[in-house]
């Protein structure tokens, strides 16, 4: 077990950090957020050229077959830049689900396009009343000739509006919270009966409520085995969770640095506020929170690929709890140490705060994962 980056990972981190520094300044991001779909297609193709979109995709299907740790290294850098491009939605969740559950035909059909940046995916699983219970699926897929007809609603589906294909979970059997009876479907976003209500999220991304009203799909739209999707959904959610923790590690790193810099320049009572011991210790605690969260995140990232579901769940939940607590502390204290300036939209620290807060909520907040961790003790 090693905790040091290997050479490839070091190179990846360097080039990604370089990209953020050169091409993804705070003001650039603001402009990008205003673009259609809330991100830049141009930057997306740069990601493709840099091989980032191919990174976690299996080599057999046009990818680089990178490990979760490799992807974490990239996500950490993206977090530093508060990158709004749909890497999580399209690559981690979308391609991840196809790679996890899909047939070879489906993988060959979809994954190369994702790797090349020509195909965008979104993962439509969570539902309005599900809260953090992954098993909660009310959307129904009724047999319809050779295929199925889907009816239901999906909540807060990130980047659905720009996705070509939605990966939608629906019940083919069982009742609302059964682990069994959930099936994944590949659905054309433009298909008849699919209605999107799209909106910005408070952390600067885009999401949609997805309404499905008797959406007809063929049997070939089924991703994986009918009624047996949950293990795959859990695997995808766990991997996404630990990668979100990596993104958070980058965001926390940046927020701490910004705060410390501010403390060195902001003068009150005739001295930089960084000279006040109380604020110094606060900053130290912020740094510590980040270090511990980051260390646990990479440890979990190293576990998810191999371990059994229970081990994986424990590792991921532990990392998500630590991240939730650290993100909250760093976000809140980062703003507090910036004083009134920290409350303004012009300062980056508030945007890191919002992103960290929302990462905590995604796939279950610290409390949810605390319970999950305890249950699996």
């Amino acid at each position: 077990m090693s905790f040091a980056f290997n050479d490839d990972q070091k190179l990846l981190a360097e080039s990604a950090d370089r990209f953020i520094l050169d091409d993804y300044a705070f003001e650039t991001r603001r402009k990008i957020m205003a673009m259609e779909g809330g991100f830049s297609r141009e930057i997306w193709s740069q990601f493709a050229e840099l091989g980032w979109l191919a990174l976690p995709i299996p080599e057999a299907h046009g990818g680089l077959g990178g490990s979760t740790v490799d992807t974490a290294v990239l996500m950490e850098c993206l977090g530093r830049g508060l990158v709004v491009e749909p890497y999580l939605a399209a690559v981690v969740l979308g391609a991840g689900a196809v790679a996890e559950a899909g047939s070879d035909a489906q993988k060959n059909g979809i994954l190369p396009g994702v790797a090349e940046g020509t195909t965008l995916l979104a993962f439509a699983h969570v539902e309005p009343k599900a809260r953090f219970n992954l098993n909660h699926v009310e959307t129904r897929a009724a047999k319809d000739g050779a295929g199925y007809a889907l009816t239901g609603a999906k909540a807060v589906v990130h980047n659905a509006e720009s996705a070509d294909t939605l990966i939608v979970s629906a019940r083919t059997s069982g009742s609302v919270t059964d682990a069994d009876g959930v099936t994944l479907f590949l659905i054309d976003r433009a298909a008849a009966g699919v209605t999107l209500r799209s909106y910005p999220t408070i952390d600067g991304l885009r999401a949609s409520e997805v309404m499905l009203d008797g959406v007809k799909v063929g049997a070939d739209a089924v991703l994986g085995e009918v009624g047996k999707a949950m293990p795959a959904v859990e695997a995808v959610a766990d991997r996404a969770s630990v990668l979100l923790c990596a993104e958070a590690a980058g965001a926390m790193d940046a927020a701490v640095k910004l705060t410390v810099e501010y403390m060195k320049t902001r003068v009150q009572f005739g001295r930089p506020i960084g000279e006040f011991q109380v604020l110094q210790h606060r900053a130290v605690e912020m740094l510590g929170a980040k270090e511990f969260s980051r260390a646990l995140t990479y440890r979990a990232a190293g576990v998810v690929d191999g371990a059994n579901p229970r081990e994986r769940a424990r590792a991921v939940s532990a990392a998500k709890v630590e991240m939730g607590r650290a993100g909250r502390k760093i976000g809140q204290d980062g703003v507090q140490l910036h004083g009134g300036m920290g409350m303004t939209d012009d300062m980056a620290v508030g945007h890191y705060f919002k992103r960290l807060t929302m990462i905590d909520v995604m796939f279950g907040n610290a409390d949810h994962h605390m319970r999950r961790f305890a249950r699996l003790a």
Binding site: V126, P128, K129, A130, R131, F132, N133, A155, V156, V176, T177, R197, Y199, P200, T201, I202, D203, A207, E209, V267, Q268, F269, F276, V278, L279, Q332, V335, Q336, G339, G340, M341, G342, M343, T344, D345, D346, G350, H351, F353, K354, T357, M358, V361, N365, D367, M370, R371
Partner: protein
């Protein structure tokens, strides 16, 4: 834990309750409870209602239009207003500048401004903070130079809440920087409807625009708009800070928000049960409710000290610290309660006259913005770190 009230106090509470039930308009109540933004007109119309009842300025001397209420009655009034969803009376006029005018103002100033404040004819804002002067207020640099019967004021104020609605500003200006920084500060009443005054909104992290930069360029302020003596403004500002310390604890407001949180937690489902049945969540509710009860208990002690003639000591800084901790804690639990629906950001939903269907539950729209917006509470009015410095020095002698 109910307050224990004397029969007289109970009678008073019932009277207040009836009045509010009859007079707080439904939509105003809804907006106040959900933290939606009220229009200037909505604020003013409610304040006029209170004015007509004679309850707009409970703490003022009766002869100026105040009440003879006991501190306990004032506490009851605040609590009832909050739980009835009445919009808080804007502090800048009634609570902040008025006591200064009452104590240090000229008869002319009293006669002119106090009635206008009671009738909400003027909308006041506070010209204290500057870009370079936040926690360290005494370092302010906005210059006021006496020129015949006018001061010429130049400088920038920032963090000025609701200045976009204001036509008057009470403003700390520097008339002398030869001596100690606290000296040479002068307290001016500035008419904002004049050339040279530019209000520029600041967008905060929640996307709202309730604070502003106010630029003052060669603004003319008649000498009769100076409160008290030139160079004594710091004393008046501090007097103002010492005033109404118990209201910053916002006990009534927090009680109302806690009740709202409970209602939401009864609706939100977790694994097929209402969230409120989750033991861990119950514990968090209990924890913050107890924090709030302790806060209220200390408020009551300070109030009874007041009625015993003792002014609140610097211990009252604890009310600000715990008060904001409780308020922020509740906003945090609200975010937790709504789960995934913390994500959508639909500011229109919080504006008057929006009538599309909500995204997710209707109560969700304002909760995350409110959480982020409310981080200001531990920063403004003397950050909680500053409050602790004050206590360390003034109470512990450290």
């Amino acid at each position: 834990m109910e307050l224990i009230l004397t029969p007289a106090e109970q009678k008073f509470r019932d009277e207040v309750r009836e009045f509010l039930a009859a007079n707080v308009p439904e939509d105003i109540k809804r907006k106040t409870m959900t933290g939606y933004r009220l229009s200037k007109e909505e604020h003013v119309s409610w304040q006029k209602t209170l004015y007509e009842k004679g309850w707009i300025a409970p703490s003022w001397p009766v002869e100026h239009g105040g009440t003879d209420w006991t501190p306990m009655q004032k506490h009851i009034f605040q609590e009832e207003c909050a739980s009835a969803g009445a919009p808080p009376v804007l502090a800048f006029g009634v609570v902040m500048v008025a006591p200064v005018i009452l104590k240090f103002g000229t008869q002319k100033q009293k006669d002119y401004y106090l009635p206008r404040i009671l009738r909400s004819d003027d909308w006041w804002c506070q010209g204290y903070s500057e870009p370079g002067s936040g926690s360290d207020l005494a370092s302010l640099r906005t210059k006021a130079v006496l020129n015949g019967d006018h001061y010429i004021v130049n400088g920038q104020k920032t963090w000025t809440t609701m200045a976009q609605h204001a036509n008057m500003m009470f403003c700390l200006t520097r008339t002398d920087d030869s001596g100690k920084r606290q000296e040479g500060i002068t307290f001016l009443l500035i008419d904002m409807d004049q050339p040279g005054v530019t209000v520029q909104p600041i967008t905060t992290i929640d996307g709202s625009q309730e604070i502003n930069n106010v630029f003052l360029e060669d603004v003319k302020v008649p000498v009769e708009n100076r409160v008290g003596e030139e160079g004594k403004g710091w004393t008046y500002a501090k007097y103002l800070l010492g005033h109404e310390r118990t209201s910053i604890a916002a006990v009534g407001r927090s009680k109302a928000q806690l009740a709202r949180l409970r209602d939401i937690a009864k609706v939100e489902q977790q694994d097929g049960r209402p969230l409120i049945e989750d033991e861990a969540f119950q514990k968090k509710l209990a924890e913050i409710e107890i924090d709030l009860l302790a806060l209220e208990s200390l408020v009551l002690r300070v109030l009874s000290d007041e009625s015993a003639g003792k002014g609140p000591g610097p211990e009252a800084s604890f009310l600000k610290i715990r008060g904001t901790e409780v308020q922020q804690g509740i906003t945090e639990l609200l975010v937790e309660a709504i789960g995934n629906y913390a994500h959508p950001y639909v500011p229109e939903a919080m504006q008057t006259g929006w009538n599309e269907d909500p995204i997710g539950p209707e109560y969700a729209a304002s909760i995350a913005p409110h959480y982020f917006n409310w981080r200001k509470a531990s920063i403004y009015g003397g950050s909680n770190e500053i409050q602790k410095n004050i206590i360390a020095k003034a109470v512990l002698g450290l």
